[in-house]
Amino acid sequence: MEIFNNILIYFVIVPLLTILGLAFCSNRGIGAVRAVAVAGATVLMALAGYLVYLFLQARGAGDTSEMILCSEVTWYAPLNIKLALGVDGVSVVMILLSAFIVFAGVFASWKMDPLPKQFFLWFFLLSTGVFGFFISIDLFTMFMFYEVALIPMYLLIGVWGSGNKNYSAMKLTLMLMGGSAFLMLGIIGIYFHSSADGQWTMNILEIAKNDAIPHSWQMWLFPLTFIGFGVLGAMFPFHTWSPDGHASAPTAVSMLHAGVLMKLGGYGCFRIAIYLMPFAANELGWIFLTLTGISIVYGAFSACVQTDLKYINAYSSVSHCGMVLFAVLMFNTTAMTGAVLQMLSHGLMTALFFALIGMIYGRTHTRDIRDMGGLMHIMPYLGVGYVLAGLASLGLPGLSGFVAEMTIFVGSYMHTDIFHRVLTIAATCSIVITAVYILRVVAKLLFGDVQNEHHRELTDASWEERLSTATLIIAVAIIGCFPNFFVNIISDSFLPIVGALENAAHAAGVM
């Protein structure tokens, strides 16, 4: 089949092959399992790098088409459902991000116990879903991969999690499935209005080209779709799965979930909700803008009083992901570029956070900051890593957080409407609150005197932990130091979306 000439399909095939390979590993030795997992992750990394190269080449060669590497194979002919692949700048960088985090995640769960084999099986099924979501441009396949990515979370948290894991796992799964229930209805609705001449299609590009969804339908399909993705994007008030879920999840799962899975939400919001229903986006945008604005400040404030490390990061994720949706709703290229940068930066640094927390927890067996202190003495590597992650998330120039937030703020403030500008200023306040809770944690956790004498015997990071964290730190620093490289990849991808929004606004103005 000609689809196998497309590199994109291999982002799904490689994880599946890895799963197959893992299935043949024996339950006894962990060595083989590790080998297969590392091999899979490395191949994915290489593929992602090659994809970026291909993309730059294509753009360099003056290929200005909206999606490159497009290819499609009809799947369900009667419903005109295709397996349609294609990437633009945003998907490329998201794939790169996912590859990084999968790679780091494999090493972060090096000593996974019990049942390492099954763990990696589910882990790679999860990443299959993630990659599949980013490479496909057909609503049905996107949705399918989206759910493929959701369900392994249940077992990953339930079996390998900690704390109140049953409750958290069930809650997370059900809430996300609730989101996808909204989403499925939205998708079906979009499908049945996807074209004027009854040639229903699921292909995003065609739907956008036809632009046939009646306004009356947009007005309630847009909220359905946006909320459906917003639940995964931890939008206030649908975020409550995130603290419990992250707190109970094992390290690598928190990394992948906060790092990549939550990005599916933001990605879907502009790729499906906004792009396909620009009219409703213009009409109803302000409602969700207010909600996301709330979740930015709200998440930051509630992070200030948490004492469990993972809860702190879960709430800060609420705040940061809120910023993603916030920027997406600003409807201009700069802000949306900022949103993607924020996805990248939040993905990397939250993954870094969760990796470090997992490593610290693995040593101290507590995540309560009141029981810890002065760890900088004892485990300098982890300490420095944690400080770096903290500085990245409170927006130190030279690390990724700053670039993303500044792009978002400047872009959002470009909006001509005063309401949006005021909201932007309200959102900027989060940088102070972020500083407050990050420094609070750093001070209590790393500085000061050692609270617990037993901690003095603890060891610093082992090689695989160093590798896992170093990968992420380097990525964070690269984005922070050379943002233009990424901006150039991303920003063009939003021209069609912004164009659609402007046309819709103009049409509405005419009417």
Binding site: M175, Y413, A435, G448
Partner: protein, 663 residues
């Protein structure tokens, strides 16, 4: 172009930071220090080269008809927001930038050298984290240099953050001690709050100007825009929000950003606590360089500020008040570093005020070359103050190193133990008190002149503060070195420190003596045109007189041990305690942050999240469960029950649909 090697001035410290930070632990501590000093020495030499080339070189049209223009060495794009809004990372040289290069590198070099001795105990072995210390010093130097040569507002903001972080790291150098741990948090958060306003200011400004650059080569930069009324900046001047023009809002916010770094009232509270850091750090960051970043920022945007009188008045009031407030507190502090910190605040307030007063209208142009005078004075004072305040701090460091305490009751009568330090300190005091011919006299005199031109009241106020300065500095001096005989309470007698520490003192003392004769008026002016200033003897005379009175008073009270201070303190105990407690500003902040924000906002929100939001979703699940329990009786288990159900079901089905459809 010949100035292109300026890049090295920035690059070397950065490289040093990465090098020492990554591979420092592998090397010996002393080696690290020496490498750091050597690198800093090279940087300093290069910086002097740059500054001199800029000031006295006359190549490729730096000087256009007698006006020295700004030179943009290079200016690559760093982050592209939109096709007009681009953040660039560049190097721009103009008088103040060149001057700051000299200040920063000099003080930084001195501190690098000094720390070689200071960061060791008395047996000469270096402290834990020596490499970290030098890495952070390099990081700070890099950030500060990057700040002053910034070509655009956003670059300044970026390096504002960078210096903030490096100061955070250096204050918290002894991170195991709770005080330092608390102080660096406080410093960072307060300055961060200020930076928030700075950011908002930038947003508002760039919304109208559509550029961040000051002088841009392709598009018309912010300051270049001032000339043509067609530019969108004019619109910023007209569009009003809540009565003030957008530009006024922007500039005020930006000033607040500067005020945070420069510890203007009420954002000054972090600076005294920042003294928890090692003393050389205080000398470098919290006396000479970083704290004047705010002044630098206002000076950088000076051409815009002079257009907005309202903002200038705000700055003027804040500055004047802060000067007096800090001086008053400095008069009663017992911790010498705290006292020096407050004197720093007061002196920076001098600079701010002098910037602000200089926007008086133009009838003075023929007298003093226009409203550039205050600007020039401020920059000049910044220069001299950096030198002698660094000197004072380093002396303090030497003393503390000798007696292991900051409290001046542990000192007393050190003169005969450490004479060099004593003399250096005396020179510093004379300089700051403004006694001719020391450096402080010249710069402060210009400030007073500018203040008098703004209005006689301002002049008198500032002169009085100058007198207080003289008083509290000499109070400290006498209390440390004389007052009464020193009783040794450490295992060894206090003595002058090793050469690595005394040499910087001597050098800085020398600079403080001669710095006043630098022709600042010719070089450092806001628009590059040299000013023609002559000493205004009436003003100078009065100020010197007042200063001498202050010194005399201090001599009377503190030279020999007596109970006069006690009695004066008792005579107005309340005032004294209030001043000693810094007028309870810290307590106020404590209340706001902990009681109001933490207890009043964060905790309720967190509770709301768990109870209401989360509770709602749990409630959904609970309701489902209860319903399923409630309807279980339907499945009664008896056949007749089933048939009842069946029959009623089918009849209802028929009837209801019939009703719905037929009616």
């Amino acid at each position: 172009m010949p100035l292109s090697y300026t890049i090295a001035v920035i690059a070397i410290p950065l490289i040093m930071f990465l090098f020492l930070g990554l591979s420092g632990v592998k090397m010996g501590k002393k080696t690290t220090g020496i490498i750091g000093v050597i690198a800093m020495l090279i940087t300093t030499i290069l910086a002097y080269g740059v500054a001199l080339t800029y000031f006295f070189g006359s190549s490729e049209g730096q000087i256009v008809d007698g006006v020295r223009k700004a030179v943009t060495v290079f200016n690559p794009d760093w982050l592209t927001f939109s096709d007009t809004l681009v953040v660039r990372m560049g190097i721009m040289l103009d008088p103040i930038a060149a001057m700051m290069l000299i200040v920063i590198t000099t003080v930084s070099l001195m501190v690098h050298l000094y720390s070689l001795g200071y960061m060791c105990d008395h047996h000469g072995n270096a402290e834990k984290g020596f490499q970290r210390y030098y890495a952070f010093l390099a990081l700070f130097t890099f950030s500060m240099l990057g700040l002053v040569v910034a070509t655009n507002l956003f670059q300044i903001f970026i390096f504002f953050e960078m210096v903030g972080v490096s100061s955070y790291l250096l204050i918290g150098f002894y991170y195991t001690t709770p005080a330092a741990n608390h102080a660096n948090k406080k410093a960072f958060i307060v300055t961060r709050l200020a930076d928030l306003f700075f950011l908002i200011g930038i947003l508002i400004l760039s919304f109208y100007t559509q550029t961040f650059d000051f002088f841009s080569n392709n598009v018309n930069g912010i300051i270049g825009m001032l000339d043509d009324p067609q530019a969108s900046l004019a619109q910023a001047g007209t569009t009003t929000f809540m009565g003030c023009s957008a530009m006024a809002w922007a500039l005020t916010f930006i000033f607040i950003g500067g005020a945070g770094k420069s510890a203007m009232y009420p954002l000054h509270i972090w600076l005294p606590d920042a003294m928890e850091g090692p003393t050389p750090v205080s000398a470098l960051i919290h006396a000479a360089t970083m704290v004047v970043a705010g002044v630098f920022l206002v000076a950088r945007l000076f051409p815009m500020y002079v257009l907005v009188q309202g903002t200038m008045d705000i700055i003027c009031v804040v500055g004047a008040f802060t000067a007096f407030y800090a001086a008053a507190i400095a008069c009663v502090q017992s911790d010498i570093k705290r006292a020096l910190a407050f004197s720093t605040i007061s002196q920076i307030a001098f600079m701010m005020t002098s910037l602000a007063v200089s926007s008086a209208d133009g009838q003075l142009i023929e007298i003093h070359g226009g409203y550039g005078l205050g600007f020039m004075a401020s920059m000049f004072h910044l220069f001299t103050h950096a030198m002698f305040k660094a000197l004072l701090f380093l002396c303090a460091g030497a003393i503390i190193h000798a007696v292991h305490s900051n409290e001046n009751d542990k000192m007393h009568g050190l003169h005969k133990y450490m004479p060099i330090t004593s003399i250096a300190f005396l020179i510093g005091c004379l300089a700051i008190a403004g006694i001719p011919p020391f450096a402080g006299f010249w710069s402060k005199d210009e400030i007073l002149v500018a203040a008098y031109e703004k209005g006689i009241g301002w002049g008198i106020w500032m002169t009085m503060v100058a007198g207080m300065t003289a008083f509290y500095m000499f109070r400290i001096y006498f209390l440390i070195f004389h007052w009464k005989k020193h009783e040794v309470h450490t295992e060894h007698e206090p003595a002058d420190q090793p050469w690595t520490m005394t040499l910087p003192l001597i050098i800085l003392a020398a600079i403080s003596i001669v710095a006043g004769f630098v022709p600042a008026a010719k070089l450092v002016t806001w628009d590059g045109t040299p000013l023609h200033t002559q000493l205004n003897w009436t003003i100078a005379g009065t100020s010197v007189l007042i200063a001498c009175i202050g010194i005399g008073l201090a001599y009377k009270m503190y030279y020999k041990e007596n109970d006069l201070p006690e009695r004066m303190a008792n005579s107005c105990r309340g005032l004294w305690t209030a001043a000693y407690k810094r007028f309870y500003m810290d307590e106020l902040y404590q209340f706001i942050t902990h009681k109001v924000i933490f207890q009043g906002i964060c905790k309720p929100i967190a509770k709301f999240d768990r109870a209401i939001i989360d509770g709602f979703f749990n409630m959904l699940a609970e309701v489902t469960n209860r319903t399923s329990f409630g309807i279980r009786k339907m499945q009664s288990g008896s056949i007749q029950g089933y048939v009842y159900f069946y029959l009623i079901g089918v009849l209802l089905l028929a009837v209801i649909t019939m009703a719905c459809v037929l009616l």
